[in-house]
């Protein structure tokens, strides 16, 4: 495999790949990741770029023979820090891994590298599977991604850029999808196309450049890592917002008009959905599907009913509200929910729906030069800490 796939001039000894892991206080569970790497059928070298660990991460990495570079925490950047790690490697392929992703099986590395036998392939993304202790929302997020990307190996390429620009958001995302939770990159391509020093989605950005340059990416679900996060709802809000702000730009999408054109309209929609979420949590609601229908159905709607008797969906709705209930539906499944299971999902569902909606509105305002001071302040707060 090594001789067949390696860019010969770069091969150092019999090591084909280097594994680059940015770390910060990775905790004792980091041992599982390092153990899994050590068990692989292919040899590799580990390169750690650490931004200020104080919990023994560095000692653990040293015990496993890793090359260690330390940086000041405030200089960490998703793109630049990974470039620093890759820059120290000498192998033809580099694996990007996060500190809490645990490779599955002994042939994970071999599986991840095998698509590089095709010289046009410059990047390979592994599949993530949820941790055993993941909550319902974290599990759904990982599984939703699997459904989105599929469960079969897939080559991503589009030699006609004009065709790419004709595609919708979802199709572009599927085509350029690349994820540094666990990915492989061809070092020779990285030398001319390093990660851009961006604070979010450096991987998708890199994937776009690869597709734009006419190369191939591969999604390889047979190479798996265990990785998921149980996040607080406030983090879901921030991450959904930042993703909504940045990802459409990376995919060269025009800002979406979600039907809300003033701060007052945004805040009214937000306030009402937050109120619905509050009632779902505070009251003993279990039949949330009926609640969805009645929540905003007031006496005026009742009086107007005879003239729109057969009109379905008479409760007012926005894409944000639709998204909120879509997530509840997806996470809770077809069976009736208990009050406890509903409460465990509502805050994160609200956060995901609201974050994406505010981001769409901000992008639209930005394109039209109508960003208010209040919206700018909200942007600053929601963009921090992701």
């Amino acid at each position: 495999m090594a001789s067949a796939c390696a860019d010969g001039a770069n091969v150092v000894s019999d090591v084909l790949a280097s594994i680059v892991i940015p770390t910060k206080n990775a905790g004792p569970e980091f041992r599982q990741t390092l153990d899994a790497i050590r068990r692989q059928t292919l040899k590799s070298e580990i390169f750690i770029v650490d931004s200020g660990s104080t919990d023994g991460t560095l000692q653990l990495a040293t015990d496993f023979g890793a090359h260690i570079t330390t940086i000041a925490p405030e200089t960490f950047n998703h793109g630049a820090t990974r470039n620093l790690g890759v820059g120290q490697t000498r192998t033809p392929f580099c694996i990007m891994l996060v500190q809490d992703a645990v490779p599955v099986g002994d042939e994970w590395l071999e599986t991840l590298l095998s698509p590089f036998c095709d010289n046009r392939v410059v990047g390979v993304t592994a599949q993530q599977v949820p941790r055993a202790d993941s909550n319902a929302v974290a599990r759904w997020q990982v599984e939703y991604r699997i459904r989105f990307l599929g469960d079969r190996p897939r080559v991503q390429e589009d030699s006609d850029w004009g065709h790419f620009l004709d595609l919708g958001f979802q199709e572009r995302l599927r085509l350029a999808s690349f994820d540094n939770v666990c990915s492989g990159i061809r070092r020779s391509f990285w030398e001319t196309h390093p990660f851009r020093p961006v604070s979010f989605a450096e991987d998708l950005d890199w994937g776009m450049h690869a597709i734009k340059a006419g190369f191939r990416l591969v999604y390889s679900p047979d190479a798996q890592v265990i990785h998921s996060h149980n996040r607080p709802a406030a983090y879901h809000l921030k991450r959904s917002y930042v993703s909504g702000r940045i990802v459409p730009g990376i995919l060269e999408m025009n800002p979406l008009d979600n039907g809300v054109h003033t701060d007052a309209e945004l805040l009214r929609s937000l306030g009402e959905l937050c109120g619905e979420a509050r009632t779902l949590v505070d009251d003993q609601v279990t039949d949330w599907r009926s609640f969805r229908e009645y929540a905003r159905f007031g006496i005026r709607d009742l009086l107007r009913t005879p003239i729109r008797l057969l009109q379905p969906n008479s409760a007012p709705s926005t894409p944000m509200r639709g998204n909120f209930y879509f997530i509840l539906d997806q996470v809770l499944g077809p069976n009736e929910a208990t009050a406890a299971s509903l409460r465990s999902v509502v805050p994160a569902a609200l956060a995901e729906a609201a974050g994406a909606f505010i981001a769409e509105y901000y992008n639209w305002c930005e394109a039209n030069g109508t960003v208010s001071d209040g919206l700018r302040r909200l942007d600053q707060v929601l963009s921090k800490g992701v």
């Binding site: 709802a233 306030g271 937050c274 979420a277 949590v281 009251d283 009645y294 009109q311 406890a340």
Partner: protein, 185 residues
């Protein structure tokens, strides 16, 4: 007395609201369904169901009632099926099977479709539609339309629990389906 998970969820929501309150205009609205409106709306929906089902209805599983249907052959050789249901609760993961059967009882084509649970209005009225191309040259003559409800998750048919103006299909091994009518195609 709030439960621990209620307290935790409330804390999570407060964390979200705190972030949103950075915008000075943000305020959480009081959104709570009015019990009076809910009762009145339910009653209105039941009244509509009662009126419409005076001459025809097919109730499945005591929860889902077909109260109106229309089968129409369109100029483009498409068969359009428009159904109106009344649902006691929002149906989840339900599908309708519609068989167009010939005089021997064989299924010639179908217009199965899922029930769009997200479209149940407050009156509990749920329209569902399907359009299928009529297979050219495959079939002409008397065509009978058979309809039933099933759950793709469990692969189980919903039992027919009440009928008016239509008959149960007992002759072709579908006791949980009703015959809506026969048409010359």
């Amino acid at each position: 007395m709030p439960s621990p998970e209620q307290i935790e969820a409330g804390r999570e929501l407060d964390g979200i609201f705190e972030l949103l309150q950075v915008h000075p205009g943000f305020e959480v609205a009081a959104v709570r369904p009015s019990p009076f409106v809910m009762r009145a709306t339910t009653a209105l929906g039941l009244t509509v169901k009662w009126v419409l089902s005076w001459s025809f209805c097919a109730e499945f599983n005591r929860s889902l009632t077909l109260i109106s249907f229309r089968v129409r052959l369109e100029a483009s050789s498409m068969i359009a099926l428009n159904l109106l249901w009344h649902a006691e609760s929002v149906p989840v993961n339900c599908s309708v099977f519609v068989h167009f059967i010939d005089e021997t009882g064989a299924i010639r084509f179908q217009a199965d479709h899922p029930l769009p649970s997200g479209q149940v209005g407050p009156l509990r009225l749920l329209p569902s539609q399907a359009r299928v191309p009529m297979p050219q040259g495959l079939f002409t003559g008397l065509c009978t339309v058979r309809l039933g409800v099933w759950s793709p998750a469990t692969n189980a048919h919903f039992p027919v629990t009440r009928l008016r103006g239509c008959t149960r299909d007992s002759s072709h091994g579908y006791p949980d389906a009703v015959i809506l009518g026969s048409y010359y195609l």
